[in-house]
């Protein structure tokens, strides 16, 4: 069973992702929500998380800062991260991959693309 943390300042996008996760036939124990990077760090400090799905452009703490914090912390840098963003710059995507990001999906995403990426990461 996997615990997933969804990080996006849009409550609607978090709900859409949660619904997609529920349909993906991946065994899930918990789905946590955070509206920015800081809320995500707080959850990561207090809960077991198997996967982080994060937006980049968010108030308070961006997805870039969250990814940087996770990359630098030994207790967090093995957690796979999928970025789900409108950002389309190849340079930026390369930068994120260098920071350990395992998957990148562009908004608007399809449920199928989310499922495919999840299955690649969880190996199912």
């Amino acid at each position: 069973m996997y615990s997933v943390l969804i990080v996006d300042d849009s409550e609607i996008i978090r709900s859409v992702l949660q619904r997609t996760l529920s349909m993906a036939k991946i065994p899930l124990s918990n789905i946590y929500h955070a509206a920015n990077g800081q809320e995500a760090v707080d959850i990561l400090d207090n809960s077991w998380i198997d996967l982080v799905m994060t937006d980049l452009n968010m108030p308070v703490m961006s997805g870039f800062e969250l990814i940087d914090i996770m990359y630098k912390r030994n207790d967090l840098n093995l957690i796979p991260i999928i970025v789900i963003s409108t950002e389309g710059s190849a340079l930026r995507i390369d930068e994120l991959k260098d920071r350990g990001v395992k998957g990148y999906l562009r908004k608007p995403f399809t449920p199928e693309s989310i499922c495919t990426t999840l299955k690649q990461i969880f190996g199912e």
Binding site: D9, S10, I12, V16, L91, R106, K107, P108
Partner: protein, 149 residues
């Protein structure tokens, strides 16, 4: 890229985002410009900086925002969308449009910094729109998208 090319690209991307993200289908015939005073719009804007600086604006009616929110959330037609959800869907659609637009206009090898989308108050909605404004219609409700470079 001249204004007409920018508008065509903006139109294509807006139509594509509305269809794929919110299952909203834009009427083929584009609406002519009309008086802003006739319509009660909800607006949002986002700024970008980096390779080029500018702003993109999106205005839609409450009915369109409600339909988009219900469609994205997979809810029934009688679900009452709240104010927060209306603003959320407006800003998220704008966010998707600008991300895809900047890549289409300037390619994948440049980096832009995007601001957090913000709501525009009714008083800030201009009486006339810039030349790079696209006028669209969804179920007879107008939708406007505009870029300032």
């Amino acid at each position: 890229m001249d204004n007409e090319e920018v508008k065509n690209l903006l139109c294509d991307i807006t139509v594509s985002v509305l269809e794929s993200a919110a299952f909203l289908f834009v009427d083929e015939e584009k609406m002519a410009p009309y008086s802003i005073n006739e319509i009660d719009f909800r607006g949002a804007r986002i700024q970008f900086s980096g390779f080029k600086d500018g702003r993109v604006f999106l205005w839609m009616t409450e009915e369109t925002a409600d339909d988009a929110a219900r469609n994205m959330l997979g809810l029934d037609d009688d679900y009452e969308v709240n104010e927060k959800q209306r603003d959320d869907v407006l800003m998220e659609i704008l966010n998707m449009i600008i991300g895809n637009l900047l890549t289409a206009m300037f390619g994948e090898n440049v980096i832009f910094k995007l601001s957090i989308p913000e709501k525009i108050n009714n008083e800030e909605t201009p009486e006339s729109f810039p030349d790079t404004t696209v006028f669209l219609s969804i179920d007879e409700h107008p939708l406007l998208i505009s870029i300032e470079l």
